[in-house]
């Protein structure tokens, strides 16, 4: 499983906590993003739209 898909720039990773954190499952985060849509300026994912 891919854990990180965000820019592979080692200089930037020193300053971006999201990129530094190896425990983050970026694939899961990307998936949630792909299912998200904005409502009143808030980005949401409806749980009912996610496969069980």
């Amino acid at each position: 499983m891919v854990q990180k898909r965000f820019p592979a720039d080692t200089d930037l990773t020193k300053e971006i906590t999201f990129l530094k954190d190896k425990n983050i499952d970026a694939e899961l985060y990307s998936y949630l993003q792909s299912m998200s849509f904005p409502v009143d300026g808030v980005t949401i994912v409806e749980k009912s739209r996610l496969p069980s």
Binding site: M1, E15, D25, Y29, Q33, E46, K47
Partner: protein, 145 residues
């Protein structure tokens, strides 16, 4: 859902999700999840800018724009070379003078529409660019028609 993202067990999926929630990248809100706009992940672009670059600029130039945006955000007095941009685009400069010109043209057009500004100088070996500004708003002109 665990299968969808390539996680073998539901337990692993839950623990990965809980980690995102613990760190504040995802908020569990009743029947929905909220993805807060966390500045260190996103480059925020107004819809008008996205439409503008999508309508007018080639994909490779958009890549350069985003690449420079990430660096402008996190690095002071950022200086870059044509080689660096070429590498980002997966191109090889050596023996390919047209490629140099294309990169210079990409930077020029981004500057012309007000998305970046830079100064170029020569360090004795190759041209270098100092990124002076990066903007998420292009120069606007009155709409025709």
């Amino acid at each position: 859902m665990a299968e969808k993202i390539g996680v073998k067990s539901t337990k692993t999926f839950r623990s990965h999700l809980m980690y995102l929630i613990d760190k504040g990248y995802v908020e569990d809100d009743d029947n929905r999840y909220i993805l807060p706009n966390i500045e260190d992940i996103y480059l925020l672009l107004p819809l008008e800018t996205i439409q503008f670059i999508n309508d007018t600029i080639k994909e490779s130039v958009i890549k350069v724009y985003i690449y420079l945006g990430q660096r402008y955000k996190f690095k002071k007095d950022y200086v870059f070379t044509q080689e660096e941009i070429a590498q980002h685009l997966g191109l090889k400069l050596q023996g390919n003078p047209r490629c140099r010109q294309a990169i210079h043209n990409a930077l020029d057009i981004l500057q012309d529409v007000g998305l970046i500004s830079f100064e170029n100088f020569f360090d004795g070996k190759s041209p270098r660019y100092r990124l002076l500004s990066w903007s998420n708003v292009h120069k606007s002109t009155d709409m025709i028609g």
